[in-house]
Symmetry: C2
């Protein structure tokens, strides 16, 4: 899933170039490239499909070597994850009704790839013989208020590694997050799912029949030249709804694998900062020509060809891209979306 | 005099584009244009001569409408003000040996132009009948440590407005500057001089005979096609020395007019800040697309086409030009020259 147009990393991310297509960690690969490489280690490339907004088709073909146009599912508009997964399920069904599927966001970080592959493989083995919707829950390391949580039935395990899921919860406040952490039954919702095509089709049909029926109408159209226009019409008729809300919270065959493979959704500058390399003054610097003096705990992302001299900043985000410069105190990063609204209302869409 | 290559406003000023050729106040005119316009009000344009480094000839012709190539005296290298003034004196001597002259830096600010013209006119009248070297001394408003001072003989006035000069002093420390301010006999050295050609030629001959003789050799060459090569050779042989040191401190016919026409040498970002328009948060902002939040007492100079969002800065200088960005605490502006040395040693001359 690579359809996001997140604005939290503006101006580094832009509508025309959202986070998943950026080398946001400064490691030489974009996030979707890292995700693609991770899955290519145990999934044949021809079995990898990317659902994204149609405006990103070109950038996907550029960034992912070995991916062809027919592996890209182009969405005409944003409709959240339930329509996205339904579309992909019907399309794959036509290719192989016996497929087993891993669904994953394209813009998350996973540090321990071997452990991830091990867990994903266990999940795939589990669903071979069982009608189950499996999700990967991340064992929390701190009382994070920025993530949704999954509550597992305590003690109850299947196959020694899987737990049955009790509920999905929204982002908690800090008090609640502390209780979640203490209880040991709560896990971060990674948005990574493992299921057989049969199980997810059945679940969609049962729990979100409106969407299921809309996409079922195209059963003879998928993988034909009429697919794009059918999808255009269908997405128009769909309500935006997440797969968590549409299916996972309602189904009673949901399982979770507790996981600790160094996961982050990289959803904020602070999360990003945690995973960037720091210099001796704790500055995370990307850019070949940045010189700092009396500056610490900053995130600095600058074009390589730009000479930047910074003296006397502390706990700031300093980012430039495409002739847009943002300087923002780290503690105010939640305000970036408000700045963006001001930019939009004062200058129009050209900077968004 | 427009030969400076000051680096204190880097990266807004650059070697290829020093301060005098910049609209550093953001008023729509460069400093040399402001100086030229000020003098054009009471001096015929054809009587205005500009001495500058030869690399700036083109920029002068661009910026000063009505100035022709033969009014520009091109210096092949920097040799301070004594050679500059000697060169100009000999060249003008050939055109009009009876000329009276005002010498002025091209990059200073004068807010009260009418008062300036009034005082300059009084100076010109004074030297008509007297062999005198007149300088304009600025009545100090605060114990400035960034300027040289002129000490006048106390009480002694000529013509009711002129004072005889006792000594020239270097930049004082703050204790001394306070004493200067209290005494009432000390004035800021503006570097503006008024004299007859006869008087200055006589003074050069007497007090700095080495330089005088070097330039006298070209007496038949000024205003001919051989002038440039003669000047090239002569500047090479000259020691760099200021007119203050070479002549003014030695001559005993030096007079001063106490002046209060809103003068500043605009020699530091702080001096500049004083004279820039401020917004309600005391930010001095140049740039059409700058948006600030929780930001105050800053100097912000940005290209007009650049979108800039600043949140949470206080007492900083933020300047960008030619793809070079400088962020520096105001209190550290003296360090900019050290940053520049680091840039030079790490990146070479291309950013200087």
């Amino acid at each position: 899933m690579a359809g996001g147009v997140g604005s939290r990393f503006w101006p580094f991310s832009r509508t025309k170039r959202p986070k998943q297509f950026l080398d946001i960690l400064g490691v030489g690969k974009t996030l979707i490239q890292m995700t693609y490489d991770r899955f290519s280690r145990f999934i044949p490339k021809e079995n990898i499909f990317i659902v994204s907004n149609q405006q990103y088709e070109e950038i996907i073909l550029e960034q992912l070597e070995g991916i062809t146009k027919n592996q890209i599912l182009s969405e005409p508009m944003m409709r959240n994850t339930a329509p996205c997964i339904t579309y992909a399920s019907f399309k794959i069904h036509k290719l192989n009704p016996n497929a087993n599927i891993i669904v994953t966001p394209s813009d998350h970080l996973i540090l321990k790839e071997d452990e991830f592959i091990d867990i994903a493989t266990k999940g795939l083995n589990f669903i071979k013989n069982k009608d189950a919707l499996v999700t990967l829950g991340i064992t929390p390391t701190h009382p994070e208020t920025g993530y949704g949580y999954i509550q597992a039935h305590s003690g109850q395990t299947e196959n020694e590694i899987l737990k049955k899921v009790k509920t999905f919860t929204e982002k908690p406040d800090i008090k609640m997050a502390n209780l979640f952490l203490e209880s040991g039954d709560f896990f971060w919702n990674s948005g990574i799912f493992i299921w057989s095509l049969t199980s997810i089709m059945e679940a969609l049909k049962e729990h979100t029949p409106d969407i299921y029926i809309l996409f079922k109408e195209g059963i003879d159209i998928y993988n034909t030249t009429s697919e794009a226009s059918f999808i255009e019409k269908t997405y128009n008729e769909c309500n935006p709804i997440s797969i968590d809300y549409a299916v996972m919270e309602k189904a009673d065959n949901v399982y979770m694998i507790p996981s600790s493979f160094g996961w982050s959704d990289l959803g904020t500058w602070s999360a990003l900062y945690t995973h960037m390399e720091k210099d001796e003054n704790n500055n995370a610097i990307n850019g070949n020509n940045v010189m700092t003096y009396k500056t610490n705990n900053c995130i600095i992302k600058m074009p390589n060809d730009k000479l930047v001299i910074i003296n006397g900043l502390c706990n700031h985000i300093i980012v430039e891209r495409d002739n847009i410069l943002l300087i923002c105190k780290k503690e105010d990063e939640q305000k970036i979306k408000h700045f963006l609204e001001d930019v939009k209302s004062e200058k129009g869409n050209k900077y968004i």
